[in-house]
Symmetry: C2
Subunit: 356 residues, 2 copies
């Protein structure tokens, strides 16, 4: 067993002198080099055990250009999606003997770049960046300019400099379209965040295309908030007020991101509309609570594990020097239909309904 001397940590030289060999030999034994006499190797191992020696990763990383640190930058830590993502990435990095340093850009591109600069200072071996906006922000530019190796995930489609991994938003949206149209919806509101250009476009177009194919007469309204979530609340409020006056309000809402789903729900609640009787609701991003509330909220589940797994795999390949053009990878989502989606006109409408 290791001796618990709450003194200075033993260094590789302490081990060396205990084993009667040089520090270089200790390093070789520990890194599995075979050109060491078995007897000496054993003595080193014994000394390591006796002293409770562990390699100092900082000192170890000192001498190599690429250090065994992976940086991860997420727009936030508060949501299940990014929480799971960090958790997955951490485990994956750990498996390969790397340390994950995670940071939150707090939905700010400026902060994103600062964090990236700090990670560059640390000379991380690679970065997993989930950009606030998209692949063309200043952060990606910084990475390019400084020759950092990295992978972009989530709010990104494809890039000419970095590999990307994201959910197949378009296909998932098509499936949502099939489901809603199939239930008889012919007037649907889509809410999103304009900032996340590429992703939003993919989700919106995937939805629109399939919906129009299935029902050419369908009406699709779109409410986008440019930058932040709070304005969306107001936009939505205005939208519903107008539609209610006009007597032509939508029978279903498709939210392209989690906060949008929350905003929609709170707007429904303000107006006393209930799902799915008064209006149907489905949103991108699943959450644990969505299956325990009344009604259970339908959602598109993003394949967090797959995204994390692929991101790390491609990242490590690049770290190991693999060349070739960047790849854009899309992982399929699952659509979970739940009670918040029904057929229009199924229940007693409380608003000025458009029952067919």
């Amino acid at each position: 067993m290791a001796v618990e001397t709450q003194q200075r940590r033993p260094s590789i030289h302490d081990v060396a002198s205990h084993a009667g060999v040089s520090a270089a030999t200790v390093s070789k034994v520990l890194s599995g080099v075979t050109t060491v006499k078995p007897e000496n190797a054993q003595r080193v191992l014994d000394a390591v055990e006796l002293l409770g020696y562990r390699v100092d990763p900082l000192a170890s990383d000192m001498r190599r250009a690429k250090r065994r640190i992976i940086g991860a930058i997420m727009p936030e830590f508060e949501s299940e999606f990014f929480g799971q993502m960090v958790s997955e990435l951490e485990g994956l990095a750990e498996q390969r003997g790397y340390t994950l340093v995670a940071a939150s850009s707090r939905e700010s591109e400026a902060r994103e770049k600062e964090i990236l600069a700090r990670m560059h200072d640390w000379r991380v071996a690679g970065v997993v960046l989930a950009p606030v906006r998209n692949e063309h922000g200043p952060a990606a530019g910084f990475m390019k300019a400084n020759g950092m190796t990295g992978v972009l995930i989530d709010r990104v489609l494809a890039d000419d400099a970095f590999d990307t991994v994201s959910a197949d938003s378009a296909s998932a949206s098509a499936e949502v379209a099939r489901a809603l149209v199939g239930q008889g919806h012919r007037h649907i509101l889509v809410v999103g965040l304009g900032q996340q250009a590429a992703t939003v476009r993919a989700r919106l177009e995937g939805f629109r295309k399939t919906a129009l194919e299935l029902a050419p007469d369908i009406r699709i309204d779109v409410v986008l908030s440019e930058s932040d979530v709070e304005p969306l609340r107001m936009l939505l409020r205005d939208y519903f007020s107008k539609r209610e006056e006009g007597g032509d309000r939508p029978t279903a809402v498709y939210s392209l991101f989690l906060k949008g789903t929350l905003v929609a729900l709170s707007e429904f609640r303000r107006r006393g509309w209930h799902c799915p009787n008064d209006i149907s609701l489905i949103g991108f991003d699943d959450a644990e609570w969505m299956q325990v509330t009344w009604p259970a909220i339908a959602a598109v589940v993003q394949p967090v594990r797959e995204i994390a797994g692929n991101a790390m795999e491609v990242l490590f390949r690049r770290i190991e020097g693999e060349g070739g053009p960047p790849r854009a990878r899309l992982e399929p989502c699952k659509v979970l239909m739940r009670e918040s989606v029904g057929s229009p006109g199924d229940g007693p409408h409380s608003g000025g309904g458009d029952r067919q």
Copy 2:
């Protein structure tokens, strides 16, 4: 502007030779030592600017015993509470020029200890540990044995070796008791996780004491799952089955932790019980969704910012060498009463009710 040579990063020696001084002088200028001729200082600053030089934190940390790294260990990253906590801690560490390395113990004490060992390898200056179980686990033991400096937060009350910061569970529970008893509830179920001994006891006893003071005839049932969340679902199912047969089911449920609230909700939904007509519900830990669902779920809000702030403050004081006995700090919670809590017998009971 910095020259963007995607070559090797400039080192302190590059700066030194550009400025025509020694590396030591550069180091002094950058660390604000005043015994440098202003002219030389300016030349150093110019060279730094020209080359785009930035200190390598790894090399810089190499030579000091306590490195400018803070470790944070959370039981999970997936919940809003710990997500916010990590986010706060990260910002606070950053403010002081430290890097936060966060890791998830994934609710495992074994992993907790492994992570701690890795952080010890990194020679972190300090650790913020949110233990899986309580302050007496192997992780805290490891920290003690290795003379690490740290703070324990959340699922912890007080410790004889480390400072602790946590929510004032007892007072919050007392307030919940006042609210529920005030609404007329006389039969209340409390659900929790036995594993988190100290915290659960504080929450339970705080509730029980106040409830009994206000209504000596009150009946308080307790369902605790020892280790994991899933068993709780079964225990709860059994409990409700028995109570429903007996015709004496509780009129309110108080969950001592977030997952318990979710389990309770899903059990209500299985039985077709609605809040607050059939049963009232309030739980520890708030979440964003709780205010947008029907009904909105009442919750105890833990003061994340305050806990994080105090934890970091006391941690840095210890890092700077402050002595004295460990302090146990309690931060007050806020109780948000929402629609999920009503008076017993207010609405049409669907089960075998106990209307008064």
